[in-house]
Each structure stands twice: as structure tokens, then as C-alpha cells.
């Protein structure tokens, strides 16, 4: 069977091909929107035209079978038009108001979860984990599933003071948005990788391996035709493992995850913020990571009880102070919480005024 003729550098299809007529007609001329329920909203244009959106949760990892099923629903209710959000939700775009309720009803009947709009938890940004990445020190999809099974009411119904953005990254590369999320999980290695000299000599290019280390911890070892690692310099990033698998970074008994909090992206009220360390370590406990999930629930509950309306997690913590955050959440403060890497100057307290 012959293949069609390939083309190069055509780029993606032009987005206009995929816009429903109501969007084409009112592009750039939207007037306001109204949230109708946690999973539906209406956008109203200057012309008076209306566009209804239904937001549906997705595990991001989708089979073609599910995509086809969603497409069938889009054909039934939306003339085939649908999109995805930057947080990996599915959105059905309805032009005919009469189709909104039947669409929602059928989605619910088929077991889809509708929500994520407004002061709630939206979908969790996450990375590949054991599903696909070589560097992963936890499974991202598994953690997300375990977390959201407990927190899904904050997606479908319950309100919080403001949006709470969750994320999971399966190593310090943080392919997602962990460093700027309200509450996020980041997986960490904690041990210097173990070198299998014989196989390093056989399989790896030594200069590449030495060059891969961001902290210059790796030296060639001419005697073994392998390398050595300076333990004091190593910060367990795993780059050496990437280029030379016999330098094994995986340590199933000592790998695990940390929880960071208080990050924010938008410039609303206060500047965007980095997430900061709340809890330095939990062991991996697949399939449900119960201690991690409990810790997240605890932080979320303390936030919900103490923050003012419209305050994001980071804004609340900055108002009350981190010492109060640790007190209210009961989280233990450890050596790991004190920055000894790049941000010490910015993070130590230089004031005689603080709370107990």
C-alpha cells in the first residue's frame, strides 16, 4: 500500500478551520461571560450572540476510543466543534442553547465529570511519570488520580476562597508548572547515583558523561575507564543517568516526593510567585500515596478555613506569615526548608518582628 506524499514545514493547520461559526462571527467582539454552574458558562458577544461551554475533566492520557466517543458527543451537540484547555480539560462548544442541558445530561449519564470553572480546583497539570519518562521518580498520573479521587468535589461543586491550581512533576525538570502552582507535588531523588564501572566503560562516552553534570561533580576515572562522582557536589538531578544508563539514579527505596505551596501565575493583585517548600519528603506509596493525599487535603482545608475571599494560597500565606502557615497546618519545619542553594539571601528573615 502506498503512502501519501509527505510535505515539510507546513506547520499546524490554521486555527480558523476549527472555529465554530459563532466564534468566527464574534471573534474579538466578546462582551462578557457568566458562569452558569461549576462546569458550564456562557459568553455573550457585542452582537448578542451566545456561546455555551461545557468543561469536562480528562485524565490527559486518552485512548483513541475515548477521543472518538467525545467526538461523537461533539457531533451530536456542537456540530463537531470542541477544544481543550491549557489545563487539559475538554470543552464542548455549544451554539444552540437548547442543546446545553441535554448535552450535560448525557455527559453525566456516560460518567464524565463536569466542572473546574470558578473558585475551584481545575484539572491537575502533570508529567509522564512511569508511564513514559526515563527520569521519573514517581508516577504522575497515579498521584493525580489518587489526589483527585479525594478532591473531585472541589472540581464539580464545592467552592474555595479562589482558584487552587494543582500540579505534579515526576522529577526536578518539572515539565509542568509545579514551580508556580498553589499546591504541587514534585518527585525527588535523594541519593547520589550508583556507578556500574564495568558497564560505564563498555557503554558510555566518558566526555559526554562528564559534561552532562550541571554541578561538575563527575570526573573521569582512568583506572576503571569509568567515572567517579563527588558526593558533596551532586544534587541528584539524574542528568548523568540520562546520557549513561549504567550510572543508576533510581533508588526505589529512597526516591519519593515533596510538596510545595504558594505559587501563582497571574498578576492579579500580587505578582506571580514561585511555589515554596512545605513538606520535603514522602516515600512513594503506590497505588494511592495516602500520606501525600492527606497532606494535600490538610493544606487545602487550612487554606479554605483561613484565607479571605479571593486570596490565593500564596497570598494568604504571605499575609499571615510562613511561621503561621507551619503552625496552622502542623507541618514540621526542617533543615531542608532553609535555602542553602541559590535563594538564601532572598529567603532568610532579617527582622526582629515575627510571630510564634
Amino acid at each position: 500500500m502506498s503512502l501519501p506524499e509527505r510535505q515539510t514545514d507546513v506547520g499546524p493547520p490554521h486555527y480558523e478551520k476549527f472555529l465554530p461559526p459563532v466564534i468566527k462571527n464574534n471573534y474579538g467582539k466578546w462582551k462578557y461571560h457568566e458562569v452558569l454552574s461549576p462546569g458550564t458558562m456562557v459568553h455573550v458577544a457585542e452582537s448578542g450572540d451566545e456561546l455555551y461551554t461545557v468543561r469536562v475533566a480528562s485524565p490527559r492520557l486518552l485512548s483513541t476510543e475515548t477521543i472518538r466517543e467525545v467526538c461523537d458527543l461533539a457531533e451530536k451537540y456542537c456540530d463537531g466543534y470542541l477544544r481543550f484547555t491549557t489545563r487539559n480539560n475538554i470543552e464542548l462548544l455549544i451554539s444552540d442553547k437548547a442543546k446545553l442541558d441535554p448535552c450535560v445530561a448525557e455527559l453525566k449519564e456516560k460518567g464524565y465529570m463536569i466542572g473546574g470553572i470558578g473558585p475551584r480546583i481545575s484539572n491537575v497539570i502533570h508529567t509522564q511519570g512511569w508511564v513514559h519518562c526515563h527520569g521519573a521518580c514517581t508516577d504522575a498520573s497515579g498521584l493525580v488520580k489518587a489526589m483527585m479521587d479525594e478532591l473531585h468535589e472541589y472540581f464539580t461543586t464545592k467552592e474555595l476562597p479562589n482558584k487552587v491550581r494543582l500540579a505534579v512533576a515526576c522529577c526536578v525538570n518539572m515539565c509542568g508548572a509545579v514551580h508556580v502552582s498553589d499546591i504541587a507535588v514534585v518527585a525527588v531523588h535523594r541519593k547520589v547515583p550508583v556507578i556500574d564501572d564495568e558497564n560505564v566503560a563498555k557503554m558510555c562516552e566518558i566526555p559526554t558523561t562528564v559534561g552532562s553534570c550541571p554541578t561538575s561533580a563527575i570526573r573521569p576515572n582512568p583506572k576503571t575507564k569509568s567515572v567517579t562522582i563527588n558526593e558533596e557536589k551532586c544534587m541528584y538531578c539524574g542528568n548523568c543517568f540520562t546520557v549513561c544508563p549504567p550510572i543508576n539514579i533510581h533508588n526505589p527505596e529512597e526516591d519519593g516526593v515533596a510538596i510545595v505551596v504558594g505559587g501563582k501565575i497571574g498578576s492579579l493583585r500580587t505578582s506571580p510567585k514561585f511555589s515554596k517548600l512545605a513538606i520535603p519528603f514522602f516515600y512513594n506509596e503506590p497505588p494511592r500515596w495516602p500520606k501525600v493525599v492527606d497532606a494535600i487535603k490538610n493544606i487545602l482545608n487550612v487554606y479554605a478555613e483561613n484565607a479571605r475571599k479571593h486570596e490565593r494560597v500564596g497570598e494568604w500565606i504571605e499575609r499571615v506569615g510562613w511561621e503561621e502557615f507551619f503552625k496552622l497546618t502542623g507541618i514540621e519545619f526542617t533543615f531542608q526548608h532553609i535555602d542553602d542553594f541559590t535563594f538564601m539571601r532572598d529567603t532568610m528573615r532579617s527582622s526582629a518582628a515575627f510571630k510564634y
Partner: protein, 393 residues
């Protein structure tokens, strides 16, 4: 009978949230690759470690990016995932599709791959998860002939990405989707043939809410903004008050610049003092609208933590017009990239280079004047440098 017993993963089919395990099982009905992915993943859950190997150069002819090589480290135990490469399809701006287009993508993927996808990857691409080296050329012929090109990877321009912008959002000050599409097309060569010191990401958000996280995840963050007065509809302000909004507390009281007043049922804004943070507008969408002179703020440098810590982008150009055909914006972008490309060491991101060289060389290279909007506060130390050009004045 299923090929593998998967008690750990089966546990994750329970519960309310949609299950990725169910998705893998659905794909496994038709694909030995997906079936072995399931088996290997169960093993990871049992032993608490991954079994993937990195790299190996794989790709399609004439391209240096868009495919991520992935191999199982247990190919005998799980032959279906011996090769399990990622094929990145460049998404359309705003992640809009028709069912017809998505079904066509699925049909081709079922023929050559595992049937598993990510909609979408963190950079924005439509990620097809798991295929063999042999299938790459056929996949590329099938997709590219239908207008679906590969996304970026490696030390290249990465697939630009954006928020939904003017397609549905009343706050969009710029045509985020069109700017994204413009840059994607403009940088096709840079996207497909890695020739940069490291990755370069462009993201476009229509306003300071920044729904695509441009400020935190892009070397070049383009964020829509405005000049002039916030438009107020006092009748709608009254409606919000009548419906129970505590305007004094929730809006006026939380305005970071204290530039609002609410007296006698009238909301007033001292627009000269407003920092355009979007708080009030986002809470009173019917009553308040951004001003009418639209443009973009350009920020640069954000990245994830490897190696010396994360960066959030810094303001470079406070306001620039951003209307098609985007000549000024494109020239500025090209100049920034050129400066980085000329000066960066391998694997040095733009933000890191600026930290090493300082902001001045970049500002001079692109012809942008120093201005207070670029800093939170001026420097604290007395160790400042003088150039010959500073004496000429």
C-alpha cells in the same frame, strides 16, 4: 483473558476521577504496545521505579525534532514497548479541533501506534505516546500530507502555545491565537531543525490572568495589556452590589494600587494609578472592561529549575503594539533570539544568559531603553559599571 494481572493499577480504576488506567486498558484491547505498556507500568507500581531508557537519535527525514526516542529497559519482558517513541503533533492555536479532524488523527494513530495520546503535552503539542522507529516515516507521510506537522523538541524553537484569546475571551487585549500561529509559521525551520544553544519557548496570553502560564514557562512571554481607562458600566456595578457583592471589600479593598473608590453607588478608578492587574475586571466582568488602546508586554527568561533555580520572566518591553502582520513584534523577537544564539553557551537558557551578562547588553542589542517598569526596585549596591557611551552625553 488479559495478558497481565494488574492489581495495583486496577485499584486506580476505582474512584470518581477519570482513570488513566481505564484509558490504557481501552487501548490495550487493540494494541499489543498498549498492553505491554500496562504490564510494564504495573511492574513500576510494584517495584517503585521506572523502566525507560532515554534517547537514541530517532526522527523523520529532514527533521531534527518532534520525536522523542523512548525504549524499554526490559524489552524481552515487554516486547511491545521495546520501542515506544513519542510523536509530537503541532497543535492548532487555542487547541481547537473538529471531530472530523480528531477522528482522522485517531485513525492514523491506531494504524501505526499504541492508540494512547496526551491531549496535550505541557508545551502544547498533541502528544502521540508510543510507536516504533519503523512507523515514523509512514506516520509523517500520513499526517503531513493532511496538514499536520511535527512539533518541536531538543535544542530548537519549541511549539509556541497560547490562551484562547479573542476566540472566546472578552479580556483578550491581543489576538493571542493569531500571534501564536504567526510565530509557529514564521519559525518552521527553527522548530524542526535544532540549531539553537538550547530550547526556546514562546507563549502568548491575552491578559495578565495568563491562562497559558507564559510568564513562568516561556523564554519569551507575550502578555496582552492596555493603555487608557478601564471602561465602567455603572448600571452593572449596581447589579453586582444588588446581587450581594461587597464591592468595598472584595474589589476596592483588594485593589493593589488603592486606586479605586466606591461612594454613593458609584465606582471610580484613578486610571493613572492602576497597574492593570486584572483583579477588579475578572471579578466584575459585566461591569468593567479593559481600556481601548491594546498592546502587549514582553517579558523574558522564565524556565524550570534545572540547574540553578527557576526563573519567572522579567519585563523587557512594557508596551508594544501587537497587530497583524506583527512586524515590530517579530523583529524584536528575532533580535532577542539572535542575541541569545550569539552569546549563550550550549544548554544555557535565555534567562540564565541574562543573569550572566546582565540586562544591559540585551537591552542595547535590541535597542530598548532602561525604564523603571523593568525593575521591582533599583540596585542596592554601589558597584555599578560605566561604558564609554555613558560619557559621551
Amino acid at each position: 483473558m488479559a495478558k497481565y494481572q494488574t492489581p495495583m493499577l486496577d485499584e486506580l480504576e476505582k474512584g470518581a476521577w477519570p482513570s488513566f488506567v481505564t484509558e490504557i486498558k481501552k487501548a490495550a484491547k487493540n494494541s499489543k504496545m498498549a498492553e505491554d505498556e500496562l504490564g510494564q507500568l504495573e511492574k513500576s507500581f510494584q517495584t517503585k521505579r521506572g523502566y525507560w531508557k532515554h534517547g537514541g537519535i530517532v526522527g523523520v527525514l529532514g527533521y531534527g525534532s518532534g520525536v522523542i526516542g523512548r525504549y524499554s529497559s526490559l524489552p524481552e519482558e515487554f516486547p511491545g514497548v521495546a520501542h515506544f517513541h513519542t510523536y509530537r503533533i503541532n497543535q492548532p492555536s487555542g487547541f481547537f479541533y473538529t471531530s472530523e479532524a480528531l477522528k482522522e488523527i485517531c485513525d492514523i494513530w491506531d494504524k501505526y501506534g499504541s492508540g494512547l495520546t496526551n491531549l496535550h503535552g505541557s508545551t502544547g503539542d498533541l502528544v502521540l505516546l508510543g510507536t516504533t522507529t519503523d512507523a515514523l516515516e509512514p506516520l509523517f507521510a500520513e499526517y503531513s500530507s493532511r496538514g499536520w506537522d511535527l512539533g518541536g523538541s531538543g535544542s530548537a524553537m519549541r511549539t509556541p502555545s497560547c490562551c484562547i484569546g479573542q476566540a472566546r475571551c472578552e479580556w483578550a487585549n491581543i489576538n493571542a491565537m493569531d500571534i501564536c500561529n504567526h510565530f509557529t509559521q514564521h519559525f518552521q525551520d527553527e522548530l524542526h531543525r535544532p540549531a539553537f544553544p538550547y530550547k526556546f519557548k514562546i507563549k502568548v496570553s491575552g491578559c495578565a490572568c495568563d491562562c497559558v502560564a507564559a510568564i513562568a514557562r516561556a523564554d519569551l512571554s507575550i502578555i496582552g495589556t492596555w493603555k487608557g481607562d478601564i471602561r465602567i458600566d455603572q448600571a452593572e456595578v449596581k447589579n453586582y452590589a444588588d446581587n450581594g457583592m461587597d464591592i468595598q471589600k472584595e474589589i476596592v479593598g483588594m485593589c493593589p494600587t488603592e486606586c479605586m473608590t466606591y461612594e454613593g453607588g458609584e465606582l471610580k478608578i484613578n486610571n493613572e494609578k492602576c497597574s492593570r492587574c486584572m483583579h477588579c475586571i475578572s471579578k466584575m466582568t459585566k461591569a468593567l472592561r479593559p481600556g481601548e488602546e491594546k498592546g502587549a508586554s514582553i517579558l523574558v527568561g522564565s524556565k524550570a529549575p534545572i540547574v540553578v533555580g527557576s526563573l519567572i520572566s522579567w519585563v523587557l518591553v512594557p508596551f508594544i503594539k501587537a497587530e497583524a502582520p506583527y512586524e515590530e513584534l517579530t523583529e524584536l523577537t528575532e533580535n532577542i533570539i539572535e542575541w541569545w544564539d550569539d552569546n549563550a553557551k550550549p544548554r544555557e537558557r535565555l534567562g540564565e544568559l541574562i543573569e550572566v551578562k546582565g540586562m544591559r547588553p540585551l537591552l542595547e542589542a535590541i535597542g530598548v531603553a532602561p525604564q523603571p517598569q523593568q525593575v521591582k526596585e533599583p540596585r542596592k549596591d554601589p558597584f555599578f559599571f560605566w561604558s564609554e557611551s555613558d560619557f559621551e552625553k
